[in-house]
Symmetry: C3
Subunit: 350 residues, 3 copies
């Protein structure tokens, strides 16, 4: 079903994004695509000036641009207050999210009879659900998912293929876990005894709040005692490691390959860019922003932006980086000064 | 079955950890929990002064503390020489380790008839065991485990869901591999031929010793020729990458996201903190300790502690980090000296 | 079937690697092994001077060495122009690559009837293929593989156990994906709305070219719009994260734990060593070489070698590293200069 440009403008107005239509308001749009790949029935967008050149070559039927952006003559456009926010609304409207089949519980799934599964499930073949598990309604579990005994899973959760959830873990409502991620494996808990490592039972759990999305191939340790927590609204990319007993606050965003050591506490709405590492037992305050590849070795106050390894306030890190480039010059200056001072000393001594 | 405080004190005495009982020796304990989460029938512990405050608010029925630690009046306690070691003993006694069902070989497992499986197995549905595999006794394999042809697996091993073991690999006794880990995939072996990469057959194996525990979502390359080795007693956290032909010594501990390039040799009882990287063909001596996020570019002598990228002895690294913070001051000092010297030169020249 | 040394020399001559035979040309060889592990019917090789010592202790029946290399008396050898290239040819000839069974489509695989699978497949039990998937000929899929709806997979591909391919992704011919890797999960695409993260539909795909090999436990995000691309001939090691919309060129080689943020474009034949991170929207030119653990924060011109975090040309990085070690000395020199200048000022002032 095509969408006329004017209908999309009305949609955006409903989202408090009033748009100006440039060109034919009856232009019909069937999908959203990048400037490079869009065809004449697709709408595209420009939000990063870096890609402005593509405006002149795109075959898109229309583009969403900023209020000030000039567009080539003849091109249909929606001028929106925030083109990226606008295209997001259009994508949800035109394409929607991935649909999941919910055909009930496949006969080839292996569900322990003591488990309880809510209404309207989509439990595929080769899913395993252990003893005494409680699962809410509208839950989808793809093949290869393994949910061990005593877990509790809320409503509207989606577990993609080959996800493993260890015993006793708790997932809230609307939790999405992408393929291959592991929730609740034992953490690295050993007591050193005469040069050997003796395993400490890991009797805690992982507790995941509502509306959390975990990327693929992540590993979230259960707590030694108590809970490892990923609070509501938090989003993880892929290949993230969370140590035992860590507590991640609400509405955080962690980019790929972040690693959080055990017993770390992270406040709300903290952003960690790719490959950030945080040492054990630290506290990261609310709204902190941690640049990619930072190595955090100290508590981070709320609202702070840090970078580097070891991480320091981002301005200090940038200053250090720029001074590092000047080190050879500084060494030369010192050498020159030493020669000049020596010459002065000789002159005066004489 | 509850445990009286006096019984726990006797238990600890047997482990050479004589304790003083504070308060009611008949206090009944049913479990171990954190200070924050323990209830009146649970015992907790304090081993890190950082958490001392929680002593005054805990609802724990008893706490394990150090010999010197003061406790609020009315609180039951065990004063132990090493509270963390003591709570470990109590956890093993009260909770024990995860139990695995061993109901034999599930009829929905796919086991090649040429394979041999020892007594008392727990081979779940959807496990695959290839041709000519030998498996010891008491081995547990969860759904989604795949063991390829010609592997040899010792006694008392546990392979969690969705673990893959490639052909010909060897696991010792009491090996635990957590969910999603892959043992024996091909390493990055290619010969460059006119700008293309020609694959070199990877005909070696991975050999894992006794009492090794591998975390979740790890990847351990098979050797190009010969063996990649993880020696007995070594423990890995999650998301660790081991390159082809690397040989990791006994009783090492690697934290999450460590990466070891091909042909590295690591001695015994080496500790690598999170995200350490080691370049190819290096040797890391016994008992070395490598700080989080270090990038190791040279051999490391036995007993050395190193940090940084590139990694240097930890004292040098700390010194460099502190000098880096002083760089702007140093630059200012140099500028000032230059002005002063110029002034002196003028004065003297005149 | 054993291979005489003279036959191996003839083989190498065919590959433009003329060899000199040292010792008995009729020596029979049954396999290739490392110097440490080879027995009297195995051939080994020496290509890295670091391992020269092992020449005097090896039990190998023969060794491949460089033209100039001396060998112990009595040892059989092939002197080759490039011993590593030569042993590669011998390994392919003597051992070949891993063989895969292609017994058709196992009855316990779950294949949607709308999918099309080419001739001579090896689709194992517990494989899932969704609606409207097209698969070429000679394709092998091991247990636990999940291929979602609308994917297109070329000829001669191999998907190892527990690989997940999300809906709509495209694989070329001769693509190999090792165990546990995930292709096409949703990227980290959220719009910030009043402190919450609203999911942006990820409607793009992943497109993988011909002759690509992906290691184990990698995660390759689908594009938000359009395509994430891994072009022909590129080889990945393990635990690599590729962000949404990234486009990786032909014949690249990425070592373990590399992480590429969204919308990055990488040219052809780029090498990234272990743990490299590249920030979003950057361009990495053809033939660039990026040292291990580099943090790339700017575009990289073609042909450049860079290192460090933030990454700079490798010579500058090396220079910075060496100056960093000199910082304490520089600070001392500055202090001394200050004292000397002060003394001079006093002297002259008086």
């Amino acid at each position: 079903m095509p969408h006329r440009l004017t209908a999309l403008a009305e949609l955006l107005a409903q989202f408090n994004m009033p748009c100006e239509i440039v060109g034919d308001p009856d232009r019909e749009i069937t999908g959203v695509a990048t400037l490079d790949e869009a065809g004449p029935t697709e709408i595209s967008f420009l939000s990063n000036a870096k890609y402005e050149k593509a405006l002149s070559t795109t075959k898109a039927g229309a583009v969403i641009v900023s209020k000030e952006q000039e567009v080539p003559s003849g091109m249909c456009a929606l001028r929106a207050p925030d083109p990226y926010a606008a295209v997001t609304v259009v994508m949800v409207h035109v394409h929607g999210y991935r649909k999941h089949e919910r055909k009930g519980i496949d006969s080839r799934a292996v569900i322990d009879p003591t488990s309880k599964i809510g209404e309207n499930p989509g439990i595929f073949h080769n899913v395993t659900v252990g003893e005494n598990v409680t699962i809410g309604k509208n839950v989808v579990m793809y093949p290869g998912v393994y949910v061990a005994r005593d877990c509790r899973i809320g409503d509207d959760c989606t577990l993609y293929p080959n996800v493993t959830v260890y015993d006793g873990c708790v997932l809230g409502n609307r939790v999405t876990i992408h393929a291959g991620s592991v929730i609740g494996e034992d953490g690295l808990g050993y007591a050193p005894v005469k040069g050997k490592w003796h395993k400490i039972p890991q009797i805690g759990i992982v507790e995941i709040g509502d509306d959390v999305e975990i990327g693929s191939n992540c590993s979230i340790d259960r707590a030694t005692l108590g809970r490892t927590v990923i609070a509501s609204g938090t989003k993880f990319s892929n290949l993230i490691a969370i140590g035992h007993g860590a507590k991640i606050g609400e509405d955080c965003m962690f980019v790929a390959q972040v690693g959080i050591a055990g017993s770390v506490t992270v406040g709300r709405h903290v952003t960690m860019a790719g490959k950030v590492g945080v040492a054990g037992h630290l506290h990261i305050g609310d709204e902190a922003q941690i640049a990619a590849m930072s190595g955090v070795m100290n508590d981070v106050p709320a609202g702070t932006s840090i970078a580097g390894a070891p991480a320091v306030p981002i301005k200090d890190a940038m200053r250090s980086f720029s001074y590092m480039a000047r080190l050879p010059d500084m060494a030369k200056q010192i050498k020159q000064l030493e020669a000049q001072v020596e010459a002065l000393q000789k002159k005066i001594g004489s």
